[in-house]
């Protein structure tokens, strides 16, 4: 029932927040589509393999979010992915609780994927060294969002995630991160971020 994050997913989330420190940012997490529902499928954690940064600045408007969800949904189908989660970092550093908007988007994703997670980024603990995971993960239970502690277990390989994220932050890779907003500004901007994916692989 619980989700786990790969290095690439965690990395891109943090790079997105680092690129726009003065704005709220949000995005989606995708997981590989499970071939069939196994009987004991609730014991295998869902692995979020990638992250799609969406917007920065004013988040709470509907039309572009719907466009993004539609386009990303198609991309997911092509790549046998499914939208498995939503992340958000609020504008104010000290504000790391999910707001009404985050819950709405999370609920919408949960409609299509029952084990969807909502992730809030805690910017107060955001450091270049990435010494600890700075996320709070919320699972959807009976129409409510329940908070779960985020520790090394929530990652496929925390040590790797920590090392690589820190390296990319130091190298200012966030300057070249593309979110969906950047894509709408110029269609040539690629929101799948192939270059950053390459850098992550390169450092693995």
């Amino acid at each position: 029932m619980s989700i786990k994050l790969t290095t690439q997913a965690y990395c891109k989330m943090l790079l997105h927040a680092a690129k726009y420190p003065h704005c709220a940012v949000n995005g989606l997490l995708v997981a590989e589509k499970q071939k069939e529902k196994k009987k004991d499928s609730h014991s295998t954690p869902i692995l979020c393999v990638d992250c799609i940064p969406l917007f920065h600045g004013t988040l709470a408007l509907a039309p572009m979010l719907e466009v993004a969800l539609t386009l990303i949904d198609t991309w997911c189908k092509e790549n046998k992915y499914v939208i498995a989660g939503y992340y958000q970092a609020n504008e104010r550093t000290k504000d790391f609780r999910p707001n009404q908007f985050a819950e709405k988007v999370g609920a919408r994703i949960a409609e299509n994927f029952s084990e969807a997670a909502m992730i809030m980024v805690d910017s107060t603990r955001f450091t270049m060294g990435c010494y600890e995971p700075i996320l709070t993960i919320y699972d959807h239970h009976e129409n409510k969002w329940k908070c779960r502690d985020c520790n090394a277990d929530c990652f496929e390989d925390w040590c790797e995630a920590q090392k690589i994220t820190s390296a990319l932050l130091e190298g200012r890779s966030y300057e070249s991160l593309i979110d969906f907003d950047n894509h709408l500004d110029d269609l040539r901007n690629d929101w799948t971020n192939p270059e950053i994916n390459k850098s992550v692989l390169h450092l693995c």
Partner: protein
């Protein structure tokens, strides 16, 4: 570490001109401003002439953004020395206190500016920013409304207020602020497009139709505004799919949505150059087209 001029092979004049461009465009690329500005100040101060003072101001604000209090302090001291007793410099000192989260001291600083000059808009707006930083959105909104009653022409303030309302999900009031902006800036496609987004988010058939009209207006003003194009498609297809519209309205909106999809397709083809990711987006757009023409 290599200097900016070495890494990018630029002259000090080009660095100075870049800073000016960022100043004019009001870019908040603070890390870059600090990199370029710090080198300019340290290595080429004597060549900058009177430009140096505005550069000190620009670099100081960027330094605050990057938690470079050492650099901010240096810039502030230079400005204090050159312009003793200046309200503008006092405001910068206040901003530094804000960056250090010393909000009470910052407020005192701004209050002292306002005592000498009650019409000082910069100080008033900094006080509102402090409320925003402290999470006191309701108060910030109230103060900003009061400010706008006096300074009705301050477009930046109207825009800030619209954002505050959007964050509080008060889309009606956000729309009002954007209406003010559209009235005074009828050729600004961004305000049109944002207004359309707010109307769309408000929901309901009437608002959807209004949003479609304003997305179309934004496109008229700038036919490369992708958000307006996508918005036109989304609003028209939602209207067409609504059970409350008659056949004529449905047909018209299917036409608009189809037109929009074709334009979107074209835009992606132009941008795509056959890259893998864009092939995907093009496919998604094609699916969008199929879904409307099927109904």
């Amino acid at each position: 570490m290599a200097s900016v001029s070495e890494m990018y092979d630029v002259t000090w004049e080009e660095m100075r001109d870049k800073l000016r461009k960022w100043r004019e465009d009001n870019h908040r690329n603070s890390e870059q401003i600090v990199d370029v500005g710090e080198e300019l100040i340290n290595e080429h101060a004597s060549k900058l002439g009177d430009d140096i003072w505005i550069i000190y101001e620009q670099v100081m604000i960027a330094a605050l953004d990057c938690s470079r209090d050492d650099l901010a302090w240096t810039c502030l001291q230079e400005l204090k020395r050159q312009f003793p007793g200046s309200q503008r410099v006092k405001r910068l000192a206040g901003m530094r206190l804000e960056a250090l989260e010393k909000y009470e001291d910052a407020n005192k600083q701004y209050d002292s500016i306002l005592q000498d000059d009650p019409t000082n808009t910069a100080a008033r707006k900094r006080k509102i920013s402090i409320l925003k930083a402290q999470g006191k959105s309701a108060e910030a909104i109230r103060e900003l409304n009061e400010y706008l009653e006096q300074f009705v022409g301050d477009q930046g303030a109207w825009h800030e207020l619209s954002e505050l309302y959007i964050n509080e999900h008060d889309y009606g009031k956000a729309a009002f602020c954007l209406e003010e902006l559209m009235m005074t800036n009828p050729h600004n496609h961004l305000y049109c497009e944002q207004y359309a987004e707010v109307k769309y988010t408000q929901g309901g058939l009437e608002n959807l139709e209004l949003s479609r009209k304003y997305f179309a207006q934004a496109l008229k003003l700038n036919n490369r505004n992708m958000r307006a194009l996508f918005g036109l498609y989304m609003s028209a297809s939602h209207i067409a799919a609504s059970p409350k519209v008659n056949a004529t309205v449905e047909k018209a909106n299917v036409k608009y949505a189809t037109w929009a999809t074709n334009q979107i397709n074209r835009a992606y083809q132009l941008a795509g150059r056959g890259t893998k990711e864009n092939k995907c987006s093009v496919k998604a757009v094609e699916e969008m087209l199929e879904s409307i023409t099927m109904s």
